[in-house]
Each structure stands twice: as structure tokens, then as C-alpha cells.
């Protein structure tokens, strides 16, 4: 038996609806070549072009190139074989509706992922906060179905894209500087101007990451039950939150202690009716 006879034999072995073993083999070869071409194209893209693009964009382009080439291979295969999917489409109509309902959330996540990639509310490496979920951390990536955030405790949390897309996203790295805040109460007997002055001096001396311009701001927020409450607001470079916010109250207390200004504890004067 010659190879031609062998191929002739394969072309005559019909499996179903005109689909022969030979066309199936050809299809497999076309698809295999398509996958190899897709992998090579993806590899070339990541080696030469991806380094110049943002990480998220590069990943998404990589996926589009890979699956695009595979899809083109599939269309080549079907057109070469002259396969007609119209019957399959009609037959699969009901099946598609069932699948559609079953995969509603998956499709929703996929669509949300596409919109997230277009809108780009945050990019890889940004520090973000999702107040609705109580999540803060560094955005690792926005994937096809979900996004991943590395929380400040080191753990990685996966958020379905649908939830991520519909949540409020607070970017902590979009601004040049950020503001740290603290509230402190001083006794009614103490001078407010003096308290503000000593706190300001201590901040300027001991907190190098606090900006000189804009200056630290002080607001008398409330004449409370036990104390005069002063809000202290200072600005710092956006990446140096850890050098400002956690130290602010310590610095304020140290300043007040040095100057003998009292931070009163909650107190209530009870009058006896007989008095």
C-alpha cells in the first residue's frame, strides 16, 4: 500500500456528516501548527515588545495574540474542510441559553474584566483601597475573570472582576502627596495657641517626611465634654505613609508631655441634689 492509497483510505472513512478521518487529521495538524505559531508569537511579543508596555496591558495583549492566532487556525480548519455549523448552531440554541444562565457570573466577570482593562481605574503596582470590602493593598493584576491584590499583611486576595468593577476604588498612589491626620484633646485650662505651637515645632523637628509646604494644619474641631479637641493634619510624600501616620500621635503626645500640657481623660462632674 502506497502512502497515496493510505490517504485515499482515510479520506473515504467518514465519521459523521461528511467529516472524514483525513480531514480530522488535517484539522489536528492545522490546530497544532496554530498553537505552535501562537506560542512563538506570544514569546516574541513578551521578549521584544512587552517590556515597553505597562504590565497589565502587556499581559492582555499577550492573551489576545495567543487566543487570536488559535481562533484564526480554527477558522482556517473549518473553511478548508467546508464544515457547516448552521445545524449545530440551531441545535445548540437551547443548550446555549441553558449554559448562558449557568455561566451568568462567569460572563459578567469576563465583561467586567474587559471594562476594567479599558477604563483602568488602577494599574499594576498601585496601592489601592476598596472601602466597601475593607481591603487595602497593592494591585497585582487585573485578570480575565478576577483581580488580585496583595494586602499589607502579605496575603494575596482574589476579587471577582464584577465586584471589583462595581466597587468604589480609592487610589493611594495617584497623588504626589498624601495627608495624615490625628485628633488630640487638651485640657480647658491650657492655652490652645501654645499647644499648637509646641506640636508644630515637634513635628518639624522629629518628622522628616512631613512637608514644610503645605504647612501642618491645626483645627479646633470641638469643645468636647472633657477636652478641647484639636485635629492635626500633615502632608507627606505618597510613598511614605508609614513614616508619618503611625508616628503622628506619638509625636503629638511627646510634644504635649514636654510642655506640661494635659491630655485629659473623660470626666463627668456629678452634683448631689442635696448640695
Amino acid at each position: 500500500m502506497t502512502p497515496m492509497d493510505f490517504l485515499q483510505g482515510l479520506s473515504e472513512m467518514e465519521i459523521i456528516g461528511g467529516l472524514t478521518v483525513l480531514s480530522l487529521v488535517l484539522g489536528a495538524i492545522i490546530m497544532a501548527l496554530g498553537i505552535i505559531a501562537a506560542k512563538i508569537a506570544k514569546l516574541i511579543f513578551f521578549k521584544y515588545y512587552a517590556p515597553t508596555l505597562p504590565q497589565d496591558t502587556a499581559k492582555n495583549f499577550g492573551k489576545i495574540i495567543y487566543f487570536g492566532i488559535i481562533a484564526i487556525s480554527f477558522f482556517i480548519f473549518t473553511s478548508v474542510q467546508g464544515l457547516d455549523f448552521s445545524g449545530l448552531l440551531v441545535a445548540g440554541g437551547i443548550f446555549a441559553v441553558v449554559i448562558g444562565f449557568a455561566t451568568q457570573s462567569v460572563v459578567s466577570n469576563l465583561i467586567s474584566g474587559i471594562f476594567l482593562m479599558i477604563e483602568k481605574p488602577a494599574k499594576h503596582g498601585d496601592t489601592i483601597q476598596i472601602p466597601d470590602m475593607g481591603i487595602s493593598g497593592t494591585l497585582l493584576d487585573i485578570g480575565t475573570f478576577s483581580s488580585r491584590i496583595r494586602k499589607f499583611d502579605g496575603t494575596v486576595i482574589r476579587i471577582p472582576n464584577e465586584k471589583f468593577f462595581t466597587s468604589n476604588i480609592r487610589s493611594l498612589t495617584d497623588s504626589t502627596v498624601r495627608r495624615a491626620e490625628a485628633m488630640v484633646g487638651i485640657a480647658y485650662k491650657d492655652d490652645i495657641e501654645n499647644a499648637i505651637s509646641v506640636i508644630k515645632n515637634e513635628i518639624q523637628l522629629t518628622m522628616p517626611f512631613v512637608l514644610r509646604i503645605p504647612e501642618p494644619e491645626f483645627r479646633v474641631e470641638e469643645l468636647g465634654d472633657s477636652s478641647v479637641d484639636i485635629q492635626v493634619l500633615v502632608w507627606h510624600p505618597r510613598d511614605d505613609w508609614s513614616q508619618a501616620q503611625p508616628h503622628l500621635l506619638t509625636t503629638i503626645k511627646r510634644a504635649l508631655d514636654k510642655s506640661g500640657i494635659e491630655i485629659p481623660f473623660p470626666q463627668r462632674v456629678v452634683w448631689d441634689a442635696k448640695d
Binding site: S175, V177, R179, P208, L211, R212
Partner: protein, 251 residues
């Protein structure tokens, strides 16, 4: 030159050779090099805040060459920007279509370089004025420029530098506008300004500020202006950026 002060007891800028032991003293700062082996030296530095840094330096040769020089004030408390915000202690008024040249003090830091095959390599840096090494913001919080901030006084001439703390910079201001202008601050990328030293004094490349109109907006265009001097040029501590000019809005 200004009169000699007690600061003249401090080590001068320049090249040093370490054979066995070398001690450099700067205001509130002590630097020590010591031989710890046939081809190894130790480096010790204690700064004004009591912070100690120790390093071991293997060396091919029997001696170590180092250079102590003034560098740009961009490293303390952390390297976050290439811009400097100089706030003048006295405002400068310029009449319409006039120009002026002034000398101002500009903060500096001090770099310690290892000379390896005639090439300086950065080993360490210090600031002798940590309490006044702070950041400032020019512009709004979301789009503004983070700068190294300094309140500076006018200097008489290039010899008026404050050793180890402030160098002198020449600023040429041109007012091309049809009205008088008051200048109280200048913001510029300092990464293109070189520093030069002699003994314990330092000067920096200057800047030229042109107040002019662009369309209907008045702006201050700031460009680097290289100084001509026979003082020794400091090696570059940090990577320079591509920013060599700055445009400020006028208030």
C-alpha cells in the same frame, strides 16, 4: 573669602589616601577608615542623629583613595525627587523689562566616593543639616511637584558659602513682562546642576529665570546656567534625569 570659623577644624573637601587609618570630622559627624587586613578596609560613620553605618571595603591595592565632596541635596531623608524649592527670605522685586543677578545659599549634602581606577564610586552620603532637610510641594496635591524644600538667604558672592551646609548659586532673573514682578521662590530640577568645591566651600551651577508671556499666561521659565570656575567639580552622586528645565506659574 569670609573669615575663618571654628569649622576650619573640620576636614576639607578633596582627595584622601588611606594607608592604615583615616579620620574625617564634619559638623556632628565622624567618619573613620581603618585597615583590617592586607587588602581590606573598614568604613565607619556616625552622623548628627547618632546613626551608625559600617561597611567593609575589599581592595586590590595596598591603599584606598577616597574623595569627600559636596553633592546635590536630594538624598535626605530619602531620595524622592530631583527638584529643589528655594524660598527666599526676602522677596525680590523686578521692574518691567529689567534683569538682576543674585547669589543665594543653596543646601548641599556631602558625598564620600571611592576612587577606583580613577573613577569615583559612591560609598556613602551625609547631611550636616538634617533638621532643615525637608520636602515641600509646588502645586496641588494630586499633580504638584514634590521638591526638596529650603528657606534660603541671599549671599554676597561665590565665596559666601556656609561650609558643609550650603553652597552658593547665582540666579539671573529677567523680567520680560510689561509689569513689575515680585519673586519669592524658585523651583527647578537640580539634577543638571553640577557642584564645585575648594577647601570647605562649594558653589553650584546657576539658573536663569525668565518671566515671560506664553499666549495669555505669564510664566517663569527656569533653565540651568553653567558656572565658569576653576574650583574642582564634584562627582555625580545620583543618576541624573532628563529634566533640565522647569516652568512655574506666576501668582
Amino acid at each position: 573669602m569670609s573669615e575663618e570659623t571654628p569649622q576650619s577644624n573640620f576636614s576639607k573637601y578633596g582627595l584622601y589616601t588611606v594607608n592604615e587609618h583615616l579620620e574625617l570630622t564634619l559638623p556632628d559627624t565622624l567618619i573613620k577608615f581603618e585597615r583590617i587586613g592586607e587588602n581590606a578596609f573598614s568604613y565607619f560613620r556616625q552622623d548628627s542623629e547618632g546613626k551608625i553605618i559600617e561597611k567593609m571595603i575589599p581592595s586590590k591595592s595596598n591603599e584606598l583613595k577616597i574623595e569627600l565632596t559636596p553633592i546635590r541635596p536630594l538624598n535626605y531623608p530619602a531620595r524622592r525627587t530631583g527638584y529643589v524649592f528655594l524660598k527666599f527670605d526676602k522677596e525680590i522685586y523686578l521692574s518691567q523689562n529689567s534683569a538682576a543677578s543674585i547669589f543665594v545659599h543653596c543646601p548641599i549634602e556631602i558625598g564620600i566616593f571611592l576612587i577606583h581606577d580613577s573613577e569615583p564610586e559612591s560609598l556613602d552620603w551625609i547631611t550636616c543639616n538634617p533638621l532643615n532637610s525637608r520636602f515641600g510641594l509646588y502645586g496641588p496635591p494630586d499633580t504638584g511637584t514634590l521638591c526638596r524644600y529650603a528657606e534660603v538667604s541671599l549671599a554676597t558672592d561665590f565665596s559666601d558659602s556656609i561650609p558643609y551646609v550650603e553652597g552658593v548659586m547665582k540666579i539671573v532673573i529677567e523680567n520680560d513682562l510689561e509689569s513689575g514682578q515680585t519673586v519669592s521662590k524658585v523651583i527647578f530640577p537640580i539634577t543638571d546642576n553640577s557642584l564645585y568645591y575648594e577647601d570647605s566651600k562649594s558653589i553650584l551651577d546657576g539658573i536663569k529665570v525668565t518671566l515671560k508671556k506664553r499666549a495669555v499666561v505669564s510664566i517663569a521659565d527656569v533653565q540651568t546656567d553653567t558656572v565658569s570656575t576653576d574650583w574642582i567639580k564634584s562627582p555625580t552622586w545620583e543618576d541624573s534625569t532628563s529634566n533640565t528645565s522647569m516652568e512655574m506659574g506666576l501668582e
